[in-house]
């Protein structure tokens, strides 16, 4: 225990730098993933014919072992933070894509029919009915993706992407338990904070009328 505290006090600048790297690698990947996955998910609900192919493709991406995907990035993009971010971005797509698609598909068809019958355009139905109804599920996908990405980002160190994985892998190599534990704990802490934050974002995005439980 004292060795661990000793390590932290000696190397706190390194730990903080890696923590920062880890955070921004994850954040860039997951935000980019969100910006692509949500519109793509919406698009899929409009084009029923291609959705099985697209979701199937993203599923395959997801089943590739993360280490292998990172390895594949080296011939394509070299080493460093950029290939790590690209790999993590690809991973983050599926949970958000799937949740956007399901969230919108599961909006009660009676609501859509009422909206259409009242003279809303397709865009108004999407913007004013489908998205508000599905936002909680969509943000649930964002939350899952964020937490996964933070844990996968540990592997970024393998291809020189930095982040807390550096402490874990270097610690392993040097048989330095304190270094390894620091990396592992810091990652867990980051993931927990991200969980709390994204949970609140999800709550904030959920329209008030949908939080009310039926009285009877």
């Amino acid at each position: 225990m004292s060795g661990f505290i000793q390590f932290l006090t000696d190397r706190y600048d390194l730990v903080l730098r890696l923590l920062w790297e880890h955070s921004y690698i994850s954040l860039i990947a997951v935000v980019a993933g969100f910006l692509i996955a949500v519109p793509l998910g919406i698009l899929l609900t409009r084009t029923e014919k291609i959705n099985t192919y697209v979701i199937g493709f993203v599923n395959i991406l997801q089943t590739l072992p993360s280490l292998a995907l990172l390895g594949l990035m080296i011939p394509l993009l070299g080493i460093g933070a950029v290939p790590a971010i690209v790999a993590l971005f690809l991973y983050s797509l599926l949970p958000m894509l799937r949740n956007t698609y399901t969230g919108i598909r599961e909006v009660d068809p009676a609501l859509i029919e009422a909206a259409r019958g009242m003279g809303m355009t397709s865009f108004q139905i999407l913007w004013k009915i489908e998205l508000p109804m599905a936002i909680s599920i969509i943000m649930g996908g964002f939350r899952t993706a964020t937490i996964y990405t933070i844990s996968w980002a540990t592997l970024a160190a393998v291809i020189g992407g930095g982040g807390l994985g550096y402490l874990v892998f270097t610690g392993l190599g040097l048989a330095n338990d304190n270094m390894m534990i620091t990396g592992a704990l810091a990652t867990a802490m980051l993931a927990t904070i991200a969980d709390l934050l994204t949970r609140n974002i999800q709550k904030m995005c959920t329209p008030k009328g949908l939080k009310i439980k039926r009285a009877d």
């Binding site: 909206a115 259409r116 019958g117 329209p207 009328g209 009310i212 009285a215």
Partner: protein
């Protein structure tokens, strides 16, 4: 007001509506009734172009609706459905104001209209306007569903089994309220139901359909006293017809005696 000319609808090889000719008069409460699959809902949904006919022409005030913009058309036709379908993420006030807002009506005018309509169905605007649908009972929700269709003052309102998902007591209440409301606002209403008691209670005229065709269009009294054929008699039910006979002992003999092919 609304007229169907030789309207047909088929999906694939299945014919759903066969050569339909129909005339709904201005200000009347016109009930479409029939067994499930008879085409009553399809007929109604062709009026606001949620379903397009395969052939034939539908006119509103002499204007062929296939030439109109469907979005504009629908904003001028109220629409109430069985599932009520209030938007759960919007307050009652926002739900009722939806179509006026789509039509970009002046806010203050819309607000007044929303209050007036809520008052009309006995929901105090001060209490209910800022509540959410989940906080209301089924009967209250469908009251809102009905006034939502009236908010932009459309000359026509379409109602697709609006009261059939409610409990019997709320249903009775809403039917009574609706008849009263209809007398004051004087809209043309096309009302789909499968419940003959409801039809008799509220209709100015009833249109009984079967297999995509009109069997009989008449006032409730006429239909009860002079059912056109065996199908009408069976659909109305011998019990109701006997009740009519008891209520109207002076009815012409021909109608008072049940046709020999009726079930009793």
């Amino acid at each position: 007001m609304i007229s169907f000319h030789q309207v047909e609808k088929s999906i694939g090889n299945t014919s759903i509506i066969k050569k339909l000719d129909l005339e709904v008069k201005a200000g009347e409460l016109f009930v479409l009734i029939g067994p499930s699959g008879c085409g009553k809902t399809t007929t109604m949904k062709m009026i606001n172009r949620l379903i397009e006919p395969t052939s034939g022409k539908i006119e509103i005030n002499g204007e062929d609706i296939s030439q109109t913009n469907p979005v504009e058309l629908r904003r001028n036709i109220g629409y109430v459905i069985q599932q009520i379908a209030l938007f759960p993420h919007m307050t009652i006030g926002e739900n009722v104001a939806l179509v006026p807002n789509l039509k970009k009506q002046e806010r203050a005018r819309t607000e007044n209209k929303v209050d007036e309509l809520l008052d009309m169905v006995g929901l105090d605007p001060k209490v209910f306007k800022n509540r959410y649908p989940a906080e209301l009972s089924g009967g209250q929700q469908q009251r809102v569903g009905v006034i939502r269709a009236m908010a932009a003052d459309p000359p026509i309102i379409l109602m697709d089994e609006p009261f059939s998902a409610l409990d019997p007591i709320s249903r009775e209440q809403l039917q009574d309220e609706f008849v009263r409301l209809q007398k004051t606002i004087n809209k043309t209403v096309v009302f789909v139901t499968h419940d003959m008691d409801e039809a008799i209670k509220i209709a100015d005229r009833i249109c009984l359909m079967n297999g995509g065709e009109v069997v009989q269009v008449d006032t409730p009294e006429q239909m009860l006293q002079h059912p056109a054929n065996e199908f009408v008699v069976n659909f109305i039910g011998a019990k109701r017809l006997r009740k009519v006979k008891e209520l109207h002992p002076n009815m012409p003999k021909k109608a008072a005696t049940l046709p020999k092919w009726s079930i009793s």
